[in-house]
């Protein structure tokens, strides 16, 4: 495991003497404000979303359903030892930290735990905006191995946005106790991105996770965003039609089908990104990677 960088950027910002036991919710100031994100995103996407790499080489976003051990993975990667509770929704403020691995510095941003990116809550908006406009170098999706079926919808949604994904199949120790085995190689093939089995509480699988993160972060040609074909022919036609127009308007946007889907659903955040031209900036990603 990489040693944590001894810099002021490591770990959640100090809470001052705001309160003693708020190991759980220290940061009131740096959380992306709902609503404000989109606007500031238009000017300088990465900085506005708190994803400015600063003196780090790569930026990682940590996503996942609530209560999958996301915070434990975060602590394990950054070497922080903050208490992590066993209940959903405990990460109220966004934590960030850093570590170094293989000579490169990584900045890691913990996203709120969400079940989807369908924009039904502030948390989902924040996560969606960071993933779409923040363009992190790697998205680590933490998945509960004992509840794979309930966790996969989020993975699939993130995969539709980006190919720079590593899936951390966490809690495999617990799954084993319950008699559940997950075929990670099959899952890797289905999702088209690395799937690493971990038991973050015991530190198992972390070397593999770090290696996978490094590989995706430096990949010249990351996997393309996932294309999910819809069984409903009318919907599929509409998506294909609109995606073509999204590409015509914003050439080089990597996830035009996903954008089209969101527009068909009337996602207000994506609509304003179209109006303000923020989407166009996503095209730059491809040039940079190529």
């Amino acid at each position: 495991m990489g040693a944590p960088l001894p810099s002021p950027g490591v770990g959640p910002p100090p809470a001052g003497d705001a309160c003693g036991s708020c190991a759980l919710a220290p940061d009131a100031t740096r959380r992306a404000k709902p609503g404000g994100t989109k606007r500031s995103g238009a000017a300088a996407p990465k900085a506005g979303l708190g994803l400015d790499p600063g003196r780090y080489d790569h930026v990682i976003a940590l996503a996942g359903n609530p209560n999958t051990g996301k915070s434990t993975v975060f602590n394990a990667l950054t070497g922080l030892r903050q208490h992590v509770g066993n209940w959903a929704g405990k990460t109220v403020a966004r934590a960030e930290g850093g570590f170094s691995y293989g000579g490169a510095g990584y900045r890691i941003v913990d996203l709120p735990g969400t079940y989807s990116l369908l924009s039904t809550s502030t948390d989902e908006d924040v996560a969606r905006d960071v993933l779409l406009f923040g363009r992190p170098d790697v998205v680590v999706v933490v998945v509960d191995a004992t509840r794979l079926e309930r966790n996969l919808p989020l993975v699939l949604q993130i995969r539709q946005i980006t190919g720079r994904v590593v899936v951390a199949l966490n809690l495999v120790d617990e799954a084993r106790r319950h008699g559940i085995t997950v075929d990670t190689r099959h899952l890797t093939r289905e999702l088209g991105v690395p799937v690493v089995a971990t038991a973050a509480r015991r530190g198992q699988g972390l070397p593999d996770l770090l290696a996978a993160i490094a590989q995706v972060a430096t990949a010249e040609d990351p996997p393309k965003p996932l294309r999910l074909v819809h069984r409903d022919p009318a919907l599929e036609r509409a998506v294909a039609d609109l995606a073509t127009q999204v590409e015509a308007r914003f050439p080089g946007v990597p996830n035009s089908r996903w954008v089209a889907l969101r527009l068909l659903e009337g996602d207000a955040g994506i609509e304003s990104a179209v109006r303000e031209g923020t989407l166009g900036e996503l095209a730059g990603d491809l040039e940079r990677a190529g």
């Binding site: 003497d17 705001a18 309160c19 003693g20 036991s21 708020c22 190991a23 759980l24 919710a25 009131a28 609530p66 209560n67 030892r81 903050q82 208490h83 509770g85 066993n86 209940w87 959903a88 929704g89 405990k90 109220v92 403020a93 369908l118 809550s121 794979l148 079926e149 996969l152 919808p153 699939l156 949604q157 617990e174 106790r177 319950h178 008699g179 559940i180 085995t181 997950v182 075929d183 099959h186 899952l187 289905e190 999702l191 819809h230 069984r231 409903d232 009318a234 919907l235 509409a238 039609d241 609109l242 127009q245 999204v246 527009l263 068909l264 659903e265 009337g266 609509e271 179209v274 109006r275």
Partner: protein, 472 residues
């Protein structure tokens, strides 16, 4: 509508019209179909080894309509009893070490270097004594309470509490997740107020913020535990004292939950009217807590941080107490003037002027209420006990603290009971008030959240005192 000006959005709107109304549902459905296909082909289940039944059996009891509440009561009672019984010995040890010996040693040292009386008074009798007091009184209970609470949290019990309380909160017109922010409040109200961000509806979030102060934060636990131990526990035979003391603390917690529900109900029917949101609460699997790690993190993260804050607050408070006890205006000290002025109000609500003055001094942090009360009582009752003003007598243990309060302060069981109620019902500490303002950005709501508990405290204490005096 700017939408209409954008050709891409126009096209999207056109296409949407050609699709069925439930297009959103269909997209989600297709996503879940893919997810379940992938999950099915990747997961191999050995049902014989499945231990889910243990979880289910536990949940059947812990989230039962009746037994759930019984289990909750027993568990929390156990935690408090453990804290009270376990903290007694180390507390006494620290007391002898820091307050008795440390204080005498420091006084000797200051006298040896020839420091003027006022400097010795301010630093040794004021700052040092208050700080040493806070360490001796607060550290042992916190070092026991936090790890126990954290073990329950690790085990996965807190969501079950939220589940049990959800029905009650929903009936009060509040959000079920308020049960979780309430639990956070038991650690620290400022943290609890920040935690209300998990509630999306502004109406329900405001209710959660305003009522969070009815969760007793760790700054207030020591007051309750001390009052329960030396006054309520003393009423019964020594063998039962610990149980009765823990019971009285649990009773105050239950009153707090009752007040939370009542005030939520009142707010949601008056100034914060609206619909209750629907949400899903996931009951995570029970996980065996990692005992050593939990001990480590809860001592580092919680106990020491809380203690640090208490010390930062106690030091200046000690100086203030010494100053108001020693600066004279006319024939009496500032403290005496203030206490005399506050005494009539104190009498009406079954407390006294010293307690009210202590609450004024302790606005920055509730942690220092008890040290402030004891020091002020000793200062003003100095004649009866022969102590120097602003100096705490060297009190051997809790029982002696009680004796001082009774003889020098004129305390009765009513004073102790009302102090316990007032500990529950008074204005939030200044840090919490700042946090409330930060989260709501509204002077109006911050004022309400500050004054509503205080007003309730006055009303409840006055009523208790009235009834008590009528009955006695």
């Amino acid at each position: 509508m700017t939408d209409l000006l954008d050709p891409l959005l126009q096209q999207a709107a056109r296409l949407r019209q050609g699709l069925p109304d439930d297009v959103g549902d269909r997209i989600v459905e297709s996503l879940y179909t893919d997810a379940s296909r992938i999950a099915e082909t990747s997961v191999d289940r050995d049902d014989a080894r499945a231990k889910l039944t243990v979880d289910r059996a536990l949940d059947r009891v812990l989230t039962h309509r009746v037994w759930g509440f019984v289990a909750m009561g027993v568990l929390f009672f156990g935690v408090f009893w453990f804290t009270i019984a376990g903290a007694a010995v180390p507390s006494d040890l620290l007391y002898v070490l820091l307050v008795e010996n440390g204080h005498a040693w420091l006084q000797g040292l200051f006298a040896a270097v020839g420091s003027p009386w006022w400097l010795t008074g301010l630093l040794v009798d004021g700052v040092y004594l208050a700080t040493a007091w806070v360490v001796a009184v607060m550290l042992p209970p916190m070092a026991i309470f936090f790890p126990l609470f954290t073990l329950l949290e690790d085990f996965g019990y807190l969501p079950r509490v939220a589940f049990n309380l959800d029905r009650l909160f929903a009936r009060s017109g509040a959000h079920g997740k308020q049960a979780l922010t309430m639990m956070m409040g038991y650690g620290c109200n400022a943290a609890g107020v920040t935690a209300t961000r998990i509630i999306d509806s502004r109406r329900e979030r405001l209710i959660a913020i305003i009522t969070n102060n009815f969760s007793i934060c760790n700054g207030r636990w020591p007051t309750l535990i001390l009052m329960g131990t030396i006054f309520v526990g003393a009423v019964v035979p020594p063998a039962l004292a610990g149980f009765v003391a823990a019971g009285s603390v649990v009773a105050v917690v239950i009153v707090g939950i009752g007040v939370t529900l009542a005030v939520s109900w009142l707010l949601s029917r008056t100034v914060l009217r609206g619909e209750s949101s629907v949400y899903s609460l996931e009951l995570p699997p029970y996980r065996p807590p990692q005992v050593w790690r939990t001990l480590y993190t809860s001592i580092i993260d919680r106990t020491l941080k809380v203690l640090r804050r208490a010390l930062v607050m106690a030091a200046p408070a000690g100086a203030v107490i010494w100053l108001i006890g020693n600066v004279h205006l006319g024939d009496a000290s500032v403290a005496a003037h203030l206490v005399t002025a506050l005494n009539p109000l104190g009498w009406v609500i079954g407390l006294n002027g010293v307690i009210l003055l202590a609450y004024l001094v302790a606005v920055p942090a509730n942690e220092i209420i008890i040290p402030t009360i004891v020091m002020l009582t000793l200062t003003l009752g100095a004649n009866t006990l022969g102590a120097a003003p602003g100096v705490m007598l060297e009190l051997g243990d809790d029982a002696q603290v009680g004796q001082v309060l009774v003889t020098a302060g004129g305390w009765t069981l009513l004073t102790a009971v009302n102090l316990m109620l007032f500990t529950l019902l008074h204005n939030p500490c200044s840090t919490t008030v700042m946090t409330i303002w930060h989260e709501t950005r509204s002077v109006r709501w911050t004022t309400l959240a500050t004054l509503l508990p205080l007003g309730l405290g006055f009303a409840v204490c006055a009523l208790t005192a009235f009834v008590w005096r009528l009955a006695m």
